[in-house]
């Protein structure tokens, strides 16, 4: 499942999942229930007795069971979509708040979610270069980086929720609906695993710049961090893992980065989970600004990507070795003749 882009989230209308889809699906479920009741009443056939009645009852139960599976799947699907849509709506609100805050201070916000110092800000700093303008520009750049990091964190959250919706729906289809196509519908099982997305940790407070410009951070968070809620392969963690909602690779895509850490002057250490695509590898030292603690949530989101590089390298190495064996093995054919040095191809010392 792909990641959610800045514009994708900004232009989304995930609230429709709640305001439109929910009543639509609930209405459908009500009518399904009516059909089920009607079918049950119609097929009661009290005049039947004995084996005929038993056979009829089995068929009736099978059909009712199948419809119940559909109703259950649709009900859970609706809950999944509503919960996921609400979470995406929160993420969108947060993204818009961050963007609005950045624009209010004169920053440029690019369509890919990157915040940068605007020409007007640069001109302002240049005009005061000898009177603190240089420091001011550094401060602006630091703020821009913080804004960008916060946007990326929000987008990472949205991507996770979005992936969870997809995973949950696939799980529902597999658990409830695929059984309907088996040969013995009367033996339908009753799955019990819930598939509603969990609530991810959320950094709900938009970054608010403040304080004096700080230097480069000296206390980067360890790559991968310890945020098990985002990285664990486990059981009941909020966003990831191989649990009910999971898919062990749910967070792998686009989250290969390491931590963007920073410690600001006069502020607590503020780890910002950059964790976005293209930053695989070691940590990137960020810049801490006064109130940077507001964007500390989500540290260690890039954990999944760290292990990918060795895997890729190993695969490549294996392929190379295989080709080599093939190239030199062609002349080693068991033709039944005794070995003769002349059998060796050119370049092979016999």
């Amino acid at each position: 499942m792909g990641t959610v882009s800045f514009m994708g989230l900004k232009l989304s209308q995930s609230e429709l999942a709640t305001t439109f889809m929910e009543p639509l699906i609930k209405g459908l479920l009500t009518r399904f229930t009516g059909v089920r009741t009607d079918f049950g009443t119609t097929t009661a056939l009290p005049g039947l007795v004995g084996d005929t009645k038993n056979a009829q009852q089995l068929r009736k139960d099978a059909a009712l069971g199948a419809l119940r599976q559909v109703v259950t799947a649709v009900t859970q699907g609706q809950q999944t979509i509503s919960a996921g849509g609400a979470q995406l709506q929160v993420a969108k609100t947060q993204l818009l708040a961050t963007e609005s805050s950045a624009r209010a201070l004169g920053f440029d916000v690019l369509p890919n979610g990157v915040v940068r110092v605007s020409q007007a800000q640069r001109a302002y700093c240049r005009a005061r270069w000898d009177h603190g303008g240089e420091g001011l520009l550094r401060m602006f750049e630091a703020w821009a980086a913080q804004y960008t990091a916060q946007m990326n964190g929000t987008l990472a959250q949205a991507s996770t929720v979005d992936s969870q919706i997809a995973t949950a729906l696939v799980s529902l289809a597999t658990q409830y609906l695929s059984k309907l196509f088996e040969d013995k519908p009367e033996k339908l099982a009753t799955p019990t695993i819930p598939t509603t997305p969990q609530t991810p940790p959320s950094n709900t407070t938009p970054f608010v710049p403040g304080g004096l410009p700080g230097g480069t951070g000296t206390t980067p968070l360890p790559a991968g961090g310890t945020d098990t809620a985002l990285t664990g392969a486990g059981t009941g963690t909020a966003l990831a893992g191989a649990g009910a909602l999971g898919g062990a690779g749910a967070l792998g895509a686009g989250s290969a980065g390491a931590g963007l850490g920073g410690a600001g002057l006069g502020a607590a250490a503020a780890g910002v989970a950059a964790g976005m695509a293209g930053t695989a590898g070691a940590g990137v030292l960020g810049v801490g600004v006064g109130a940077g603690g507001a964007v500390a949530a989500g540290a260690g989101r890039g954990f999944g990507g760290v292990g990918m590089m060795p895997m890729g390298a190993g695969a490549h190495g294996g392929a190379g070795q295989g080709q080599g064996e093939h190239a030199t093995g062609d002349w080693l054919v068991d033709d039944g003749d005794a070995w003769d040095p002349g059998d060796a191809p050119e370049g092979v010392i016999a």
Binding site: L16, A17, F20, T52, A63, A66, V70, G77, L169
Partner: protein, 119 residues
């Protein structure tokens, strides 16, 4: 559907079974051709305006493919049930006709003929 164990009751059950078969058939058709498809345009529209959320496209797959196939399957079950009931009704009808014919033959066979006591 087999002949009921108590053939003496089929006469009363026949109209009920025929009605039930038609009703069940109608329910299945309604389910798959009207009731469920009615929500699909709404689902599609929500997915369309949320193109930027890749997970939402799976919602279309879920409703338009998985649930739809399941609903069609249920409708198929209903149709099979209706067919089964129809078959049972036809069997009842055939049995009924046979028994009536047999009864008529027996009735004809024992019909009193002219005899001394009649005369």
């Amino acid at each position: 559907m087999s002949i009921p164990d108590r053939p003496d009751r089929f006469g009363a059950d026949l109209p009920e079974m025929e009605g039930a078969a038609k009703r069940v058939d109608d329910l299945g058709t309604h389910l798959s051709t009207e009731l469920y498809p009615a929500i699909l345009p709404g689902v599609e529209s929500v997915v369309r305006v949320n193109r930027g959320l890749p997970g939402f496209s799976s919602m279309a797959d879920f409703f338009d493919a998985a649930v739809r196939a399941a609903v069609d399957q249920v409708a198929g079950d209903f149709a099979a049930q209706a067919g089964s009931i129809k078959h049972g009704a036809a069997t009842f009808q055939a049995t009924d006709d046979g028994l009536r014919a047999q009864a008529a033959r027996i009735s004809d066979g024992v019909r009193p003929t002219a005899g001394p006591e009649v005369a």
